[in-house]
């Protein structure tokens, strides 16, 4: 008799053997997305270690608008700031905005969707009306309207972009709840006398998690793009905080975006890579978790 645990019961091996994990590992876009996302998150996280930088003091007027070369790998901007450092730290800001915004939209949206779908009645009517009204605005316009009220700052952008994501999460969660609440396992726990909060939190919410996770991942891409758009309109992070959309705005308003194209090339490229990473990851997660929910 051996005392060693059989290899197949190691936790990580059990994890790898799950059907959804197997499906994810077979999804090319999912794997590329995962790799790219990890790379970007790692870059943003390691910025202070690998490239110590103080945005407030980074300025070298003698080296304005230098083209990319050995000293400045990505060149410099109109104030003589090193674009590589700016992009690196801007990535941090943009990523943070995207994550927090989606967290705001997801938590509020899922909560409203769960309540509206479970209790129905007047609450559902009001939430449905609010969703319809919010969806009547093109999303960037709604975000602009919100930032106009709250004033431009990183926190306003998180809040504005988060609220814009709200209707998608409400609709998705509500539709999940509507189909789940009539299913046998929910009927059973209700018959055993479970209270509504318990039914919603312990039974309905876990069962509707998969599509919400997929939606959230894709929403990080959209949120990052919208946040960069607000930054470009001058409604995002205020100087000296580096942010990718604001970098594009500086170059465009400074009038040197076309004479020194590297000032726009790199910030835009990193916005695209970030959004692409989350879109690919979301596609992969959908293949894995929600195979029927394909577009």
């Amino acid at each position: 008799m051996t005392t060693t645990t059989p290899a197949s019961t190691q936790p990580w091996q059990r994890f790898l053997k799950q059907r959804s994990v197997q499906r994810f590992l077979q999804s090319t876009s999912g794997l590329i997305g995962l790799g790219l996302t990890l790379l970007i998150v790692l870059m943003a996280a390691l910025a202070p270690v690998l490239r110590p930088y103080d945005p407030a003091t980074d300025r070298n007027y003698a080296a304005r608008l230098q083209s990319p070369g050995a000293e400045y790998l990505f060149g410099t901007d109109g104030l003589g700031r090193d674009i590589l450092s700016q992009v690196w730290y801007g990535l941090q800001t943009s990523l943070l905005i995207g994550l927090v915004a989606v967290a705001i939209g997801m938590v509020l949206g899922v909560a409203l969707g769960l309540l509206a779908g479970y209790f129905r009645g007047r609450l559902e009517t009001v939430v449905g009306w609010l969703t319809d009204v919010m969806l009547a605005f093109p999303s960037i316009l709604l975000a602009i309207a919100i930032v106009t009220v709250t004033g431009p700052s990183v926190v306003s952008v998180m809040f504005a972009v988060g609220l814009v994501q709200l209707p998608k999460f409400i609709r998705l969660t509500r539709s999940m709840v509507l189909s789940l609440r009539e299913q046998e396992f929910v009927q059973t726990v209700r018959a055993f006398g479970a209270t509504p909060p318990r039914i919603i939190l312990r039974h309905i919410f876990p069962a509707s998690l998969a599509p919400i996770v997929v939606q959230a991942t894709l929403a990080i891409g959209t949120a990052t793009l919208e946040a960069a758009g607000l930054g470009f309109l001058g409604l995002g992070a205020q100087p000296p905080t580096p942010e990718l959309g604001t970098m594009l705005s500086d170059a465009f308003k400074g009038g040197y975006s076309l004479s020194s194209p590297w000032t726009i090339l790199f910030p835009g490229l990193f916005i695209t890579l970030t959004v692409l990473a989350f879109n690919l990851l979301g596609d992969g997660l959908r293949d894995a978790l929600d195979p029927k929910g394909g577009r």
Partner: protein, 336 residues
Amino acid sequence: MGRYIFRRLLNLIPVLFGITLLVFLFLHLIPGDPAIVMLGDRATPDQVEALRERMGLNEPLPLQYLAFLGNLVRFDLGSSIFTGVPIIREILIRWPATFELSVAAMLIALVLGIPAGVLAAVRKNSWLDNLTMSGSLIGVSMPVYWLGLLLVYLFAVNLQWLPPSGRISVDAGLSFEPITGFYLFDTLIQGDFAAFQDVLAHLALPALTLSTIPLAILARITRSAMLEVLSQDYIRTARAKGLLELRVIFKHALKNAMLPVITIVGLEFGTLLGGAILTETIFSWPGIGKWIYEGILSRDYPVVQGGVIFVATAFVLINLLVDLSYALLDPRIQYK
């Protein structure tokens, strides 16, 4: 069908009510006294008070909202704080520019996106399919204004094939009458082909920029709708009958795959109106989007208010038209 249209129009009322309420509340939530913003910091308290009284700002909020609604149904959206021009006149002058740009962008998206999606579906998993799908994914992941700047750099600055901004060359001595405000149409009916060419050249880059996202999405949707249809029995029957493959694809499959495509066209058209804010800013395009943006920068609240209500209402109406067009495309849909 008539009753269905009536019911849809009835459903529109709460949404339009919500739009106006939201916009009204937004502008009253903005910190700062609108009267002070209008008069400037050096106004005396008496002047501010007089203006507040005249604008009805001292009334209770619900009464202000009712007054606002009352004006709205008479198409009175107030006037710009800085130019004094009535908002409705500004909108009437500018919307053709935005509309022309959006239609051009949608045409580009349709003409390129649908064939790309069909080809990708027919040649599923080929390099062509992979290329189309990768391209469409990159398309939706890009900031469009960034692409716009790169296009200007390439085609206007470096190659000098196309103008970088504006709707028409100011110094070219072109003298057509802007009758409808749709310049392509105006130049054509006046037979001014030099001006027509100039307008078309100015339209090219902004329209291409704005078309990126609908193009990418249309290619994706067309592909998945085609794949769905191509797996149906009646397609196998059509092939078994010995019909030409081209006829099967275009006559039998594509027609039935169009329904989801139309939905997306409607939705994306609304998004184009919003996306125009960024694109119009890049290209100095004198439309609604750039006007709203300038309104935000100069804190001209009536402009922002009027512009946002106009765009949101247009968005809702376009989606209504899309829903109604289903009936024409798919006779199986019953309206009760």
